[in-house]
Amino acid sequence: MNTMKSLAVAVSATALSLHAADVTGKVSLKGTPPPEKVIAAVKTDSNCGKVAQGEAKTRVYVVGPDGGLANTVVYVKKGLEGKTFPVPSNKVEIDQVGCMYMPYISAAMAGQTIAIKNSDPFMHNVNVQPKGAGNKGFNIAQATKGKVDEKTFDKPELGIRFACNVHPWMIAYLSTFDSPFFAVSDDQGDFAIKGDLPDGKYTLEAYHQKAGAVTQDIEVKNGKATANFTLEVKAQ
């Protein structure tokens, strides 16, 4: 019986180490970014003005009080060659709410379902033009509140641009990857890549739409690793 218990604990521990890998860290910004601009049109537009959520601003550099940089995609760039992974069954949602895209930056695995939703009580169009080969673009109109269209992008690509031409300030970006090991940094610059990333050596990249990209080599041991990135805005 004790043997059985020990075996169960060992199996559980193994499962934990396989399925609870956590690569965590922080993305920081060095330098002084240009100030964000107020998007006045969100309030002045006859429709958007009714649903605007506070003062809308551009979200190019969202920097926390301690310099943490939000909206940075962190992903495993090297170390997974030749491996394939099942596409997650959950959907990545990109919502249009208050005449802004939420979230501004998102990430998905190639082939994962992207649910594009309109939460505003009027029409938006969603114009997407991927640049990478194998990803198909589209331009669809979503006329009613609650309308959801599901799309997929079959190939990895950084920064696929989503735009609404009815309200041309509405922009969002989606990055797709050939593995499920990615994350987007939060408002404090913190990120956590979760999943069953096996122990081993990898190269991570932190990619920001404007600040650029930096890479870092890491080693995952016992399902854990830490990586901190610093991106720099050069003086003008």
Partner: protein
């Protein structure tokens, strides 16, 4: 050419040219605001027949600009069909009937292909119906003097080609040719052709102008440098065309302002274009686009082209004053041209100072079209003068140059 009917034809041609100038303004606004794809389908609008789009969907953000551009374009198309019939007189009926019949048949053909082609089918049937009606117009009229009927038919062909390009720019937006999207390429051609189409209508109106035949050449006096006048007007007009193509290329890339400051460029007279500098520029851009070295060079070429065009037009004015006298029609025409070019250059600078305000950028497009038309008319006038000089110089009619389209 001074009968009531010819005056009416002249006024109608002016109306068509002015409507086209307004259409260029509306198209310019669509591009300036970046709302060209707000209506994703064509020739239908959100699946509706273009002319039956519910008003609440029309008056909505960028849809208003794009859909108004489509309706305005349809109106210009209608005006051009009438103008073609009027210029061509009764002999044009046969060709209008033939063309309208073929378009109607093609429209019916598309309808039979299935629901996916229904919108295009109805649209083509509509165009064919209008052309057919123009051909059926029974009143008898003599054709205008050559080459006006031919110019009318050219406008007839161009307006349909222009409409098709505008539609394909929407439908084929996602397609690529190498690294360039067809949306960009067709938008660029659509923008340039629109300017050429306006010039054609302006030339038609000018040729119909009663004042064109009345003004005498008494204001002219002989002098030196007549060939210089012709050269500088030609050079100025060529540079205006160059500027229009560059401007269209810049606008249709939707890259925002490749250089945000003026008269300097990123704080220097000539901006650094190395990789490190480009990273720096892009990091400090708060709009979503990323600028390339090519786009920066394009704007620098546009700046240099503006200075060259201004210089050529100023020399055209200077030489025409010396050759024909300050009070001559040609000197007044070149003075007007120079004034347009100066305002145009100031508008160009204002685009940069206002971070590409849509109304300023659109005014720049409209004034560009007027500058091109003025240059074209001056070329025609000078050519006529040179053909007649020197023996009949005193009897040569000097056409009205004070922008006949805007009369």
């Amino acid at each position: 050419m001074d009968s009531p009917s010819s005056r009416s034809l002249y006024r109608f041609a002016v109306l068509t040219a002015l409507a086209t100038l307004g259409l260029i303004g509306m198209g310019g606004l669509v591009t300036s605001k970046g709302v060209g794809m707000a209506v994703p389908d064509w020739p239908t609008s959100f699946g509706y027949n273009m002319f039956a789009l519910p008003v609440d969907q029309w008056f909505h953000g960028g849809v208003f600009d794009e859909h108004t551009h489509r309706l305005w374009a349809s109106t210009v198309g209608l005006l051009v069909v009438v103008l073609t019939r009027w210029l061509g007189g009764s002999p044009s009926r046969r060709w209008l009937l033939l063309t309208g019949g073929m378009e109607l048949a093609a429209g019916w053909g598309l309808l039979s292909l299935g629901p996916a082609w229904r919108g295009a089918g109805y649209f083509l049937c509509g165009i064919g119906g209008v052309v057919l009606l123009a051909g059926l117009a029974w009143f008898r009229s003599a054709p205008a003097s050559a080459p006006l009927p031919a110019l009318g038919w050219t406008a007839f062909g161009l307006v349909q080609l222009q409409g098709l390009l505008g539609g394909l720019r929407v439908v084929l937006d996602q397609w690529t040719l190498g690294n360039v999207t067809l949306g960009l390429l067709l938008g660029l051609i659509h923008g340039c052709l629109g300017q050429g189409f306006f010039v054609l209508l302006g030339v038609i109106a000018w040729r119909l102008s009663p004042a064109r035949g009345r003004q005498s050449g008494a204001a002219m006096r002989s002098g030196t440098g007549g060939g210089c006048v012709s050269f500088w007007i030609g050079a100025g007009a060529a540079l205006v065309v160059f500027q229009l193509v560059l401007g269209a290329a810049m606008r249709h890339q939707h890259a925002g302002l490749a250089i945000p400051d003026f008269p300097m460029a990123y704080g220097r007279w000539w901006p650094a274009l190395d990789a490190e500098a480009l990273v720096r520029y892009n990091q400090h851009r708060t709009d979503e686009s990323t600028v390339t070295a090519f786009q920066i060079l394009l704007q620098m070429a546009h700046r240099a082209g503006a200075m060259a065009a201004l210089a050529a037009i100023a020399l055209a004015w200077r030489t025409s004053v010396r050759r024909y006298g300050r009070g001559s029609g040609i000197a007044r025409g070149t003075a007007l041209w120079l004034a347009l070019a100066v305002v145009q250059a100031l508008l160009g600078a204002t685009i940069l100072w206002t971070n590409k305000a849509a109304d300023v950028a659109t005014a720049h497009v409209v004034l560009g079209a007027m500058t091109l038309l003025t240059g074209t008319l001056l070329i025609l006038v000078v050519r006529k003068l040179r053909v007649s000089e020197p023996t009949e110089a005193s009897r040569i009619p000097v056409p009205a140059l004070a922008h006949p389209v805007a009369r």
